[in-house]
């Protein structure tokens, strides 16, 4: 083995070589930065897109429908053409507040990199079974939808033949179709909430087109089977999401796939001492995706869970460009606007705005609402209103605050986001 070099430096270290990390690297390169290093824990760039072999990616970004690997390949090509350095099979185990990154891989062992700026792009993970606290036995055959996706798409293995899916998140919906195409029988998708957590187009293309029923307001209350899963008991839930005993029904299946939400993977963010937004599970950031520690940025699903990778790339460009500005000492902190929400709107990203530049604000709502308007106010002064026929938790919403709108605010104003009914 080559001599281990356990102390390095880089202007910009990007943690994660998925869609967010690669887009951020490309954006930073295009702004003139050269000393960039992408650290990727897997054996190839691309992140979770590598196992998303279905299409539907890239409509906004590239104006065409790509598969996940195709979408990733476009960015990978850019990274390689620009000659941006990246290390594969490299796990970051610590980030500290002075921007020292500790990582490990087979070639270098455990090593440290002093960075001028860091972009956190670690993505997210799925909520596991334990977190759902379902009673019953603990047989084989229970996987998150993403684990099943990896088995089927990356390993050529079938995790089961008769499937029930709990949760109507997008990966669950995609896997309902995928397992069906591989000859499995998908008996139903159960969703605890009275509405789906996934995109409308996925309900149509992955369930309806294959005759797979979606049971809203239903959950799995018990797991059966000693060695391999033999079935689950499902039940309807009341408005308080409590199972209704008389609606209990046994469904035989050898596989239970869970698609019950995604959790940003922020262990490193926390180790750096950055506080997280209670709702998003990601860091609190400003309009340029800078965390509370100057020079540390976050983008993609590690910041908040996106529906479309196109938006991940868009956000990563913001972070990549801002990191270059920071390194060059050009990042301004002229304002300290605080964005707050009314609960119907659950959160915004960014949560803060520090400069009066055009800012796209992403947010999600808490429930399905019809005929509403999104109202953005500075105190009592309405800055912006946007009417929507329907908003739903499964679909991320955006509004754009222009430089003029922001310049008109006091430098430390509180900007409120709320949903109001529109009278017809």
């Amino acid at each position: 083995m080559a001599q281990m070099n356990n102390q390095r430096r880089a202007d910009l270290v990007i943690i994660g070589g998925g869609p967010a990390g690669m887009a951020a690297a490309v954006a930073a390169y295009e702004k003139g930065l050269r000393d960039i290093l992408i650290l990727e824990r897997d054996d190839a760039l691309g992140g979770i897109l590598r196992q998303c072999i279905h299409n539907g990616f890239g409509l906004h970004r590239f104006g065409e429908e790509l598969t996940g690997p195709e979408y990733a390949a476009r960015y990978e090509k850019q990274v390689k053409e620009y000659g941006i350095p990246f290390m594969l099979n490299t796990m970051v185990i610590d980030v500290d507040e002075s921007k020292v990154v500790t990582a490990m891989n087979r070639e270098c062992g455990i090593f440290k990199i002093e960075a001028k700026a860091i972009i956190l792009a670690m993505g997210c993970r799925e909520r596991p079974k334990g977190a759902l606290n379902i009673a019953g036995s603990r047989p084989a055959g229970i996987y998150t939808a993403g684990t099943a996706q990896k088995f089927v798409n990356m390993k050529g293995l079938m995790p089961g033949r008769e499937v029930l899916i709990l949760g109507s998140g997008d990966i669950g919906l995609i896997m309902a179709r995928r397992m069906t195409l591989e000859g499995a029988k998908v008996k139903a998708v159960c969703e605890l909430m009275p509405y789906s957590g996934g995109l409308a187009r996925n309900i149509e293309q992955c369930l309806n087109d294959f005759g797979i029923p979606l049971y809203l307001s239903h959950t799995v209350v018990e797991i059966h089977g000693k060695e391999r899963l033999t079935g689950v008991t499902i039940a309807k839930v009341d408005e308080m999401r409590r199972p209704i005993p008389e609606t209990r029904e046994f469904i035989s299946c050898d596989t239970l796939l869970l698609s019950c939400g995604l959790i940003p993977e922020n262990e490193l963010t926390k180790s750096a001492g950055i506080s997280l937004d209670r709702i998003t599970g990601g860091a609190v950031v400003d309009g340029e995706r800078e965390c509370e520690i100057p020079g540390i940025f976050a983008c993609g699903n590690v910041l908040h869970v996106h529906d479309l990778v196109d938006y991940v790339s868009e956000e990563a460009v913001i972070a990549g460009e801002a990191a270059v500005k920071y390194i060059n000492g050009e990042k301004s902190h002229g304002m300290a606007l605080n964005l707050v929400t009314d609960g119907k709107i659950r959160y915004t990203v960014p949560q803060r705005i520090t400069s009066a530049e055009k800012t796209k604000v992403y947010f999600r709502v808490a429930n399905v609402y019809r005929d509403v308007k999104i109202v953005v106010k500075d105190g009592e002064r309405v800055i912006l209103e946007k009417k929507k026929q329907k908003v739903a938790p499964g679909e991320m919403e955006t509004v754009i605050l222009t430089a003029d709108m922001l310049s008109a605010c006091e430098t430390n104003a509180t900007i409120s986001f709320s949903l109001e009914e529109v009278r017809k």
């Binding site: 083995m1 281990m4 356990n6 824990r41 099979n89 796990m91 185990i93 500790t102 490990m104 891989n105 087979r106 070639e107 270098c108 062992g109 455990i110 993970r125 799925e126 596991p128 079974k129 334990g130 977190a131 606290n133 009673a135 019953g136 036995s137 603990r138 047989p139 084989a140 996987y143 998150t144 993403g146 684990t147 990896k150 088995f151 089927v152 990356m154 390993k155 050529g156 293995l157 079938m158 995790p159 089961g160 033949r161 591989e182 000859g183 209350v221 018990e222 797991i223 000693k226 060695e227 391999r228 199972p243 050898d254 993977e265 262990e267």
Partner: protein, 478 residues
């Protein structure tokens, strides 16, 4: 033919076997499951009880106090995680206080040191998150926590390193005695031994019946638990029990040696000795009770729930005897069984000596075992030394618990060897973190298949028919 056959590779069987290998004896441990530590050993409160709970004069009291005193040394020899964190039994009213005082009295009679009664203000200094309704507490300084399945694996592994044999998937169907030798048979295997030690947990009454001994029975008592994310592991530093009352024994809230928070157990007598399922009622009960003892338990942070079956014997005490020549029971070992296990092992050897057995010391016995978690505890430079020789130690497989391929492969090659994904999990903590194997399971399947020389489709979660995958996809042939 073996000198000894130990039936059951739980923590008692493991430590008994290890104790026997200290002498020039041939020992065979037989276990019906595909791994060791599969019964009550893998699912219990993981507590080293101080010894104030067991009734004066019982075997439970004697062996609890002795075991509690031995545990730290045994764990250090075997490289098992152990922490003397102290126990608290919290009371909510004057009646509870009386009970606590009598427990202190009982503990002192049993020979327990370091017992005291704390008032609320003193208690708050030790544990600021203690429940609002708590008025007083018994403090037991010698209370500790340990990793029970690690203790069992280490004990069996160390016994094997010292010559013992382990037979897995050996479900005893028949025991015959012919010419002073016991023939023990499963469906497809037979071994012979001069002396049989019955450490079969909830099944120990059934084993005893195979030799015609039916003076006791063992009933499974279901105990359900919830394990919380490491984020919650520092909510309390002591193990917090609830004062036993007419309402029952209550549950405990305890940190684990790995830094998680454990809630449990419920207590429900059931009939099925194989039923380790959790119940909606049990989990709801835990959720409700735990919060009264400790504030700020966030049930959204539960990462897994599980059930253990205590082997509750019909006599109310441990049943450690030799009703028939050459057949020894270690039965009815319910709580404080884990604590008592090292003392039980010693007690069995004392019994043998008293009965006139000739035991010659095994001079080559080495009681030390390097734990599988040694790597994670090294400093960066030391880790880099290991990595230089074997880069697998730099390849992180489990992200949540930072477990490397090197550690997993080492575990697969170390006695007692795991044969399933859960086996690797219990040895290395891979997939025990907050994602519960979401990312690393596919890779662990490949590693285990490679090491065992099996097709990936043969890999199970936990032995038997618990296959992780049921076949290949249409194009998955290559």
């Amino acid at each position: 033919m073996f000198d000894f056959a130990v039936i059951g590779a739980g923590v008692v069987g493991g430590l008994v076997a290890r104790e026997l290998t200290k002498y020039k004896l041939s020992v065979c441990v037989i276990e019906k499951e595909s791994d060791v530590a599969m019964g009550a050993t893998r699912a219990n409160s993981a507590i080293v009880h101080a010894g104030f709970d067991a009734k004066e004069g019982t075997l439970k009291a004697l062996l609890n106090v002795r075991g509690s005193e031995m545990m730290e040394d045994v764990c250090s020899e075997l490289g098992v995680k152990y922490k003397r964190n102290g126990s608290l039994v919290v009371g909510f009213n004057d009646e509870d206080k009386e009970t606590l005082l009598s427990l202190i009295e009982r503990g002192r009679t049993n020979g327990v040191k370091g017992l005291s009664l704390l008032e609320r203000d003193e208690l708050l200094k030790l544990e600021p998150n203690i429940g609002d309704g708590v008025t007083c507490a018994l403090r037991a300084e010698t209370g500790a926590i340990v990793c029970p399945y690690e203790l069992c694996m280490a004990a069996v592994g160390n016994a094997m390193d010292n010559g013992a044999e382990l037979k897995l998937n050996f479900k005893v169907e028949k025991i015959e005695k012919c010419g002073g030798v016991y023939r023990i048979s499963s469906e497809n295997d037979t071994i012979e031994a001069k002396i049989v030690i019955n450490c079969a947990g909830v099944f120990s009454d059934e084993i005893a019946r195979l030799v015609g001994e039916d003076t006791f029975s063992v009933r499974p008592r279901r105990g359900e638990y919830m394990l919380l994310d490491k984020e919650c592991g520092e909510l309390v530093s002591h193990t917090v029990f609830r004062c036993p009352s007419k309402m029952g024994k209550g549950v405990l809230v305890s940190p684990t040696v790995d830094g998680n928070l454990l809630l449990g157990p419920t207590a429900e007598d059931i009939d099925d000795k194989n039923d380790t399922s959790t119940t909606p009622a049990g989990l709801a009960h835990l959720s409700a009770l735990a919060g009264e003892q400790v504030k700020g338990i966030h049930l959204g942070k539960v990462i897994t729930s599980f059930t253990g079956l205590r082997a509750t014997g019909s006599t109310g005490d441990f049943i450690i005897n030799s009703p028939i020549d050459g057949f020894i029971n270690c039965a009815g070992v319910e709580s404080p069984g884990l604590t008592s296990a090292p003392a039980i092992a010693q007690y069995v050897v004392e019994m043998l000596k008293k009965a006139g057995a000739e035991l010659t010391k095994n001079e080559s016995f080495n009681g030390k075992r390097r734990p599988l978690h040694y790597f994670r505890e090294l400093g960066i430079d030391e880790k880099n030394e290991v990595i230089k020789n074997n880069p697998d130690y730099a390849h992180v497989v489990c992200r949540c618990e930072t477990v490397t391929a090197g550690e997993i492969i080492e575990a697969i090659r170390t006695n007692p060897r795991p044969t399933s994904i859960d086996g690797i999990k219990r040895r290395t903590r891979a997939s025990m973190g907050r994602c519960q194997g979401g990312f690393c399971t596919p890779y662990m399947v490949e590693l285990l298949a490679r090491e065992m020389g099996l097709p990936v489709t043969e890999i199970t979660k936990s032995g038997g028919e618990s296959y992780i995958n049921v076949g290949k996809t249409a194009k998955g042939g290559n």
